[in-house]
C-alpha cells in the first residue's frame, strides 16, 4: 500500500530542464506557505464559530495545488476542487475573499450564497466548483472546446480525486475531451482517501494514471509533494495540449493528512501511514531545498516570508470579520438574469 521510505529526509528532486528563476522559486514557497497558514487561520476562525459551515484542509497537498496553478498562463482557465485553495491563491484570489466566504459575510465572493471555495470569476479564468465531484470535468471540457473553436493558445485545467475518479462525469468528460482533442489538463490528486474510503476500494489498479491510456490521452505519474515536479509536469502537459494532442492526465501521488473536513478525526487512517507522509511534508522539504540549494542566503530569509504572510492574514481576518453579514433582501436575487 505505502512504500517504506528509504530515508527520513524526503528530498525535493529537481526535474531536468526546469526553467524557474529565483523569484519563481520563492513564489512557490510563498504560495504554499500562504495556503497552509490561511487554512490554519481558518481553523482558528472555525473553532471560534466564525466559520459557520464546514472547513476543508489541504494539509500536505499544497504542492499539488500551487505547482499546477503556477504552470498556467494568461487566458488559461482553472476550476478547483475543495482541497485546491492554493490554486486559487496562485490565481490571485485574496485571503480576505476566502475568509469572508468561509465566514459567510456580505463581502465574500458569493455574498454569502455559497460556501468554502465555491466561487469564481469567468473574467479571471476561475470556474466555481459544485459539491458533486466529477461535474467539473465535462464543464472544463466545454471551456476547452471553446478554446479549440477559436484557436486560442490556452488550456482548461481542473482536478479530480481518487474517489471522484469513480464517477460517470470523470469518464464522460475525459472521453469527450479526448475524442475532440481538447486542450484540457486533468490533475488526478490521489490523496488515497475519499472521506473514509481507501483508494483500493475505488479503483482496482495500483496507478490511477494507467487509465489515461484507455482514453487515448497522455498520462503521467508525478510526485505530488514535490512542487517543482508538479510544476514541470503541468507545464509539459500544457505544451502537449497547445500542440493539439488532446487532454493530458497527471496523477499526483500525495496524502490527505487531515479528515474529510474539520469535524472528521480520520480515525480510519492507519497511524503509520500518516506518520510516513508527515515526513514527506511538501513545505518542509521545499524549505530545506531552498536553503541547501542556496536559493536563499539563510533560513531567516524564509522566516521573513512567513512573517509577511502572518501579517497579511491578520489584516485579512480583520477585514473579513469587520464586514457585515449579507442583507436578507438579497436571498431571492439573481436566480434568473
Amino acid at each position: 500500500m505505502v512504500k517504506p521510505s528509504t530515508s527520513d529526509a524526503y528530498a525535493i528532486a529537481v526535474p531536468d530542464g526546469l526553467e524557474l528563476d529565483r523569484t519563481g522559486r520563492l513564489e512557490l514557497y510563498y504560495f504554499m506557505a500562504l495556503n497552509r497558514k490561511l487554512e490554519e487561520r481558518l481553523g482558528m476562525l472555525y473553532r471560534q464559530n466564525k466559520v459557520v459551515g464546514g472547513l476543508y484542509s489541504s494539509l500536505g497537498q499544497e504542492a499539488c495545488s500551487v505547482g499546477t496553478a503556477y504552470a498556467l498562463e494568461r487566458g488559461d482557465f482553472l476550476a478547483p476542487m475543495i482541497r485546491n485553495l492554493g490554486s486559487l491563491l496562485v490565481r490571485g484570489v485574496r485571503p480576505t475573499d476566502v475568509m469572508a466566504q468561509y465566514c459567510a459575510r456580505a463581502i465574500g465572493p458569493t455574498r454569502g450564497k455559497d460556501l468554502n471555495v465555491h466561487f469564481g470569476w469567468v473574467e479571471r479564468g476561475l470556474i466555481a466548483p459544485i459539491s458533486v465531484v466529477g461535474a467539473l470535468i465535462p464543464v472544463m471540457a466545454g471551456i476547452a472546446l471553446e478554446m479549440k473553436m477559436h484557436d486560442k493558445k490556452n488550456v482548461a485545467l481542473t482536478y479530480i480525486g481518487d474517489g471522484g475518479m469513480s464517477t460517470t462525469d470523470f469518464h464522460e468528460g475525459l472521453n469527450f475531451a479526448a475524442v475532440h482533442k481538447l486542450p484540457m489538463i486533468l490533475i488526478v490528486e490521489n490523496n488515497q482517501w475519499a472521506y473514509s474510503t481507501h483508494v483500493s476500494k475505488q479503483a482496482n489498479v495500483r496507478d490511477l494514471a494507467v487509465r489515461a491510456e484507455g482514453y487515448g490521452c497522455y498520462g503521467e505519474i508525478v510526485d505530488g509533494n514535490n512542487v517543482l515536479a508538479v510544476l514541470d509536469a503541468t507545464r509539459r502537459a500544457r505544451t502537449r495540449c497547445l500542440r493539439g494532442e488532446g487532454p493530458a492526465m497527471l496523477e499526483a501521488k500525495t496524502f490527505r493528512r487531515k479528515g474529510h473536513a474539520e469535524h472528521d478525526d480520520a480515525g480510519y487512517v492507519p497511524r503509520e501511514q500518516r506518520a510516513e507522509w508527515e515526513k514527506k511534508d511538501p513545505i518542509d522539504a521545499y524549505r530545506r531545498f531552498l536553503v541547501e540549494r542556496r536559493v536563499v542566503e539563510s533560513a531567516s530569509e524564509i522566516d521573513e516570508i512567513d512573517a509577511k504572510i502572518v501579517a497579511i492574514l491578520e489584516a485579512a481576518a480583520d477585514e473579513a470579520l469587520s464586514a457585515p453579514f449579507p442583507d436578507p433582501s438579497i436571498a431571492r436575487e439573481n436566480v434568473y438574469g
Partner: protein
C-alpha cells in the same frame, strides 16, 4: 408565407439563430452526419461545419456539461438529447451546475437542452416520457413545451437568446402532423407567456404540448352540448403565466388542468394550487386534473391509448364539471 411543419419550425429557428449569431452551436448524438434521429439538424453540418455541429459520444452528462462550460465563456450551445427520456443522465449537470451558477456566483449559463418528448408513437417506456416535472422544482431553469409550429420556432429562438438555461421539450407526435404558415420575418415567442387557443365562457381547460389538440377536440364536442370551453395553452411551464391562469379561472369559474406528464407531482398540481390560493372565491366547482395514471408509458397500442388522456375522457369529465 410558407407552410412549415412543427419539426421544420424547430430546425428553421435554430438555423436562423446560427446564421445570425456565431456563438450558437449544436452538440449531441448523431446530430452531424446523420442530421439527428428525427432530422431536426439535417443539413446543418454541411452548412455550418464540424466545429458548430458536433457529434458527441453517447454521454448526455458530458453533452450538457460541455454546453455549460462553453456557455460560461460566451457561447450559446444548443444540446440535443436524442430522446428527452435520456435527459435523466444529465440531471446533475442541469439541476446542480447550470441552474445554480447565476445565483451562486453570478455566472449566466445560456444553454438550451432540447429533445423529443411525449407519447402516442408506440415508443414504450423510454422513448415516450414527459419529464418536465423532474425539473419543475428547480429554481434557475426555464421549461418550454410548444404545441404549434409558430411557437416551436418562436420559442426555440427565445430559448437560444435567453440568458438562462432553458429546457425545450418538443413533442414528437406533433413533428410532422402539425403545420402552418409562418411569417418570413424574424419573430420570437416570449418565455413565460401562455396563449388562448379558444375562447369560451363555461369552462377552462389549461394545458400544453400535444394535449392542446385533445383539449380543442373536446371543446368542439362539448360545443355540441352547449358547453362553451376556453382552452389556454401554457406554452411555458417554468415560469408559469400565472396571470393568464388566474384570468381564465376567474372568467369561467370551472377549470380542468390537462397534461401528458403523469398525475402525481405533475405540473398541473402547481396550476391547481395557484388557482386555489388566488382565485378560490371565483370557483363554482372542484378543479379537475386529467393526466395519465401513475405508471410508466406502456408500449402496446391499446395500453398506450389507455394511458394517454383521450378526448372522450376530457369530454366526460368536462360535462360532470359543467353540471356543478
Amino acid at each position: 408565407m410558407a407552410v412549415t411543419t412543427y419539426i421544420d419550425a424547430i430546425k428553421e429557428g435554430i438555423w436562423e439563430e446560427m446564421e445570425k449569431d456565431e456563438s450558437v452551436f449544436i452538440l449531441g448524438e448523431d446530430v452531424g452526419i446523420y442530421g439527428g434521429a428525427f432530422k431536426v439538424t439535417k443539413g446543418m453540418l454541411d452548412k455550418f461545419g464540424p466545429m458548430r455541429v458536433i457529434d458527441t459520444p453517447i454521454s448526455e452528462s458530458a453533452i450538457v456539461g460541455a454546453a455549460i462550460g462553453a456557455a460560461l465563456v460566451g457561447m450559446r450551445p444548443v444540446a440535443e438529447m436524442q430522446f428527452i427520456d435520456f435527459i435523466s443522465c444529465a440531471f446533475d449537470q442541469i439541476v446542480n451546475f447550470a441552474a445554480k451558477c447565476r445565483y451562486r456566483w453570478g455566472a449566466g449559463v445560456p444553454i438550451v437542452v432540447r429533445g423529443p418528448s411525449g407519447g402516442g408513437v408506440h415508443g414504450g417506456p423510454f422513448h415516450s416520457q414527459n419529464p418536465e416535472a423532474y425539473f419543475f422544482n428547480v429554481p434557475g431553469l426555464k421549461i418550454v413545451c410548444p404545441s404549434t409550429a409558430y411557437d416551436a420556432k418562436g420559442l426555440i429562438k427565445a430559448a437560444i437568446r435567453d440568458p438562462d438555461p432553458v429546457l425545450y421539450f418538443e413533442h414528437k407526435y406533433l413533428y410532422r402532423r402539425i403545420k402552418e404558415d409562418l411569417p418570413a420575418e424574424d419573430f420570437v415567442v416570449p418565455i413565460g407567456k401562455a396563449a388562448l387557443r379558444r375562447e369560451g365562457e363555461d369552462l377552462s381547460i389549461i394545458t400544453y404540448g400535444a394535449m392542446v389538440y385533445k383539449a380543442l377536440e373536446a371543446a368542439e364536442a362539448l360545443a355540441q352540448d352547449g358547453i362553451d370551453v376556453e382552452v389556454l395553452d401554457l406554452r411555458s411551464i417554468l415560469p408559469l403565466d400565472e396571470e393568464a391562469i388566474l384570468t381564465t379561472a376567474k372568467k369561467t369559474s370551472k377549470v380542468i388542468v390537462l397534461h401528458e406528464a403523469t398525475l402525481t407531482g405533475g405540473p398541473g398540481g402547481e396550476v391547481v394550487a395557484r388557482i386555489a390560493e388566488k382565485a378560490f372565491e371565483y370557483l363554482d366547482g372542484p378543479i379537475v386534473r386529467i393526466a395519465p395514471p401513475d405508471t410508466p408509458v406502456p408500449y402496446s397500442p391499446p395500453l398506450e391509448e389507455a394511458f394517454l388522456p383521450q378526448t372522450k375522457d376530457i369530454v366526460a369529465k368536462a360535462k360532470k364539471l359543467a353540471a356543478y
